[in-house]
């Protein structure tokens, strides 16, 4: 990066400084600062200079919009395309959720190219593959998300909306395949429209898989199902992005930034390899992966992490998978989500400041979009007042400050470039460790991944308990005060009763023989996925779309898949 002359000059300056300090009386010499490490464990110096980045080749940094895209995916960015506002929403019924979407639009919320964000949070039973009338859904329908299980639910929410102007993501987790099958059947059969026109981001079931102790499917099965989801969308909805590079949920569970990226990257590599087995081209698959990282309070660590992720992605896709398409080499970080774990229930308005810092880290790393969470996240799903502040956060940063004027404004900083490289090395170190332990799948199946995440989470708790990690108003400067009554949203019980009634009516008023026959085809396809993989790749999603079309509910489809593909299990 620097010629010998510059490095020599720097060395002289440092020597002069040391000599001057030595000449000072001992009591006048400032004490050395205490050692500091970031959350990923990288030791930091009090300041950085050209010597720290002398070994980083210029090609490693380059210019915005060029390989390896560390500085940005684009030569210019926020100057012409503001950060996408991809915050999720959804609660009670489709009606309340529709009202929330209209409120967000009224505030000026927009996704890529002005698309309307329809990142739909679905309730826990839906995420789990349970219809509202399932006994395990009792008390949980419509509370922390919207309940979706039938074509009627899709009609109620999407009728009248121009699907080509929506950026949809139905957060269905374990239920991802049936919910997206219902969506596809709704578009084709009820709307009589071409699903190829949609911008769908079908939430991949991996969001919780790697570390959750109650995941819906066993690891190998989940990889196959992810492949089914990706293949169907590539073949049918070419604008969609069915791959999820999910670090957010890892981060929320406790993984520090470098670990988060290492696990998400290792997962993505395994998932792309699985896609290759069913004949998909990595050039296409890699382009269909969108980033959903975590953004915590360590501003520079997050900036460096996001930049390092883009560079590492470009290198891995080029070197390991031989990708050449620019779309595949660019890792598009579309939904970085500000950390819920950083927010506090005490003095909740302080969270607005925390969220602003985390959002700025995303902007300074020049990412495509974010999910800015609401300040009341520690106590409830967002109120209208809280989501208004979210939308205003993006807008104020974009339109009232000079942040968007220059792409990658931190590029070239000795510290940021050094830290970006160190984060990359740390991520690779963890990935190497996984290789030594028998590879990603083994680390997942044995519970090693979740063990690592849990250990990190516990370390953080201990630091908060001891005061080594600080939360203002919680473990420092705390004052005893009566906070105003927490406004915790609970949906009225009628929402659940209505949903149960609706799904029962739906099941009663359909051609039962047709449904039975279609579900039998799902069963056959699931067995083929289980026994004849990868030769059977691509058989499951079409069978699910036809079952949805015949009137099967999401819960019925999920049940058949679990019965034939297995349930998740606790490990580690």
């Amino acid at each position: 990066m620097f010629n010998d002359d510059t490095l020599k000059k720097q060395q002289i300056l440092e020597e002069q400084l040391m000599a001057a300090m030595k000449a000072m009386p001992a009591e006048a010499v400032p004490p050395p600062p205490p050692p500091v490490s970031n959350w990923s464990g990288i030791k930091l110096k009090p300041s950085y200079s050209p010597a720290d980045i002398k070994d980083i080749g210029f090609q490693e940094i380059g210019i915005p919009g060029n390989f390896p895209f560390v500085r940005s995916n684009y030569p210019f960015h926020y100057q012409v395309e503001p950060m996408h506002m991809n915050q999720g929403y959804g609660f009670a019924t489709t009606e309340e959720t529709r009202q929330r979407r209209e409120f967000l639009q009224q505030l000026g919320s927009r996704s890529q190219g002005g698309l309307v964000t329809a990142v739909m949070t679905l309730d826990l039973p839906t995420q789990r593959g349970l219809d509202p009338d399932n006994p395990a859904a009792r008390g949980k329908v419509g509370e922390c998300g919207c309940s979706f299980s039938t074509l009627d639910d899709f009609s109620e929410y999407f009728d009248g909306l121009d699907i080509t102007k929506l950026f949809t993501a139905l957060l269905a987790i374990d239920n991802a395949l049936p919910i997206n099958a219902l969506f596809a059947a709704y578009i084709r059969d009820r709307r009589k429209e071409n699903w190829a026109d949609m911008w769908n981001l079908p939430c991949n079931l991996f969001h919780h898989q790697q570390f959750w102790d109650a995941a819906g499917y066993p690891p190998k099965t989940a990889l196959k199902m992810s492949t089914e989801l990706i293949k169907w969308h590539i073949d049918n909805m070419p604008r969609s992005c069915p791959g999820a590079f999910d670090g957010y949920n890892l981060g929320e569970s406790g993984a520090p930034p470098a670990m988060e990226v290492a696990f998400a990257m290792a997962h993505t590599i395994a998932a792309i390899e699985e896609c290759q087995k069913v004949g998909l081209d990595p050039n296409i698959v890699a382009a269909k992966y969108l980033g959903h990282p975590h953004a915590c309070m360590n501003f520079f660590e997050e900036v460096a992490k996001l930049r390092a992720t883009r560079r590492l992605w470009a290198k891995i896709m080029a070197q390991r998978f031989g990708c050449t398409s620019p779309d595949a080499l660019r890792h598009k970080i579309v939904i970085a989500q500000t950390a819920g774990t950083e927010l506090t229930a005490q003095e909740i308005y302080n969270n607005i400041i925390r969220i602003t810092v985390m959002t700025m880290a995303g902007m300074m790393a020049d990412i495509e979009g974010m999910w800015v969470v609401s300040y009341d996240e520690a106590i409830s799903i967002p109120t209208e007042q809280a989501v208004k502040v979210c939308v205003r956060t993006y807008q104020i940063l974009q339109e009232e400050t000079d942040l968007p004027h220059v792409t990658d404004p931190l590029g070239g900083s000795y510290y940021v470039e050094w830290l970006t490289s160190e984060m990359e090395k740390e991520i690779l170190k963890i990935m190497d460790e996984m290789d030594k332990r028998g590879g990603y799948l083994k680390c997942w199946e044995s519970g090693w991944i979740r063990g690592q995440v849990q250990d990190a989470a516990f370390k953080r708790f201990k630091k908060l308990e001891s005061g080594e990690a600080i939360k203002i108003g919680v473990n420092k400067y705390r004052i005893e005060e009566t906070d105003p009554e927490a406004n915790i949203y609970r949906r009225p019980i009628e929402v659940e009763e209505k949903a149960i009634e609706r799904v029962r009516r739906y099941k009663a008023n359909r051609n039962q023989e047709k449904v039975k026959a279609a579900l039998e085809q799902v069963r056959i396809a699931a067995i083929k996925v289980d026994k004849e993989w990868p030769g059977s790749g691509g058989v499951l999603m079409p069978a699910l779309v036809e079952a949805a079309s015949a009137g099967a509910t999401a819960g019925e489809m999920s049940k058949i898949m679990q019965e034939n593909l297995g349930y998740g299990y606790f490990s580690g």
């Binding site: 309730d123 826990l124 039973p125 995420q127 789990r128 349970l130 006994p135 395990a136 009792r138 008390g139 949980k140 509370e143 922390c144 919780h208 959750w212 102790d213 109650a214 949920n249 929320e252 569970s253 406790g254 774990t341 506090t344 229930a345 005490q346 520690a378 106590i379 409830s380 849990q454 989470a457 516990f458 708790f461 308990e465 919680v474 906070d483 009554e485 927490a486 406004n487 915790i488 609970r490 606790f570």
Partner: protein, 130 residues
């Protein structure tokens, strides 16, 4: 016959809710304090009473960060009453719970309720152990 010396605690949470970090940490703190902890995820709240009986626990600790608080707790207390265990087993509930809901929970017989921002996990350990 073996004499029960250590306090036995069933820590549990719905298998639909992924907000599990704190509750898992709580299990560790309870173990550090010398208690025997059984940690489960339940599909239906009815399973919790069955497990509590099989494991002969002194305390049931439930965590709610998402949904199900009202239905699951009411059903739990009803089942404990049916089994004549309401006075035998202490019930501790924590999570995103409002002051008004806390009052309701105490009314139906819940022993301890921990709301967001009130106290720490160490306080929870103390109350469980009390």
């Amino acid at each position: 016959m073996e004499t029960k010396t250590k306090k036995r605690v069933l820590v549990t949470k719905s298998d639909q809710d992924a907000h599990e970090v704190s509750v898992r940490y709580l299990t560790q703190l309870l173990r550090d304090k010398g208690m025997e902890v059984i940690f489960t995820r339940y599909s239906i709240i009815d399973e919790v009473v069955k497990t509590a009986m099989e494991e002969d626990v002194d305390v049931i600790a439930l965590s709610f960060y998402s949904s199900g608080l009202q239905y699951d707790t009411a059903r739990l207390m009803e089942l404990l009453k049916e089994q004549g265990l309401k006075d035998e087993i202490k019930v501790v509930i924590g999570g995103t719970i409002s002051e008004g809901e806390k009052k309701e929970l105490i009314k139906i017989g819940v022993d301890e309720v921990f709301m967001p921002g009130v106290g720490t996990l160490l306080d929870v350990v103390e109350r469980v152990n009390a």
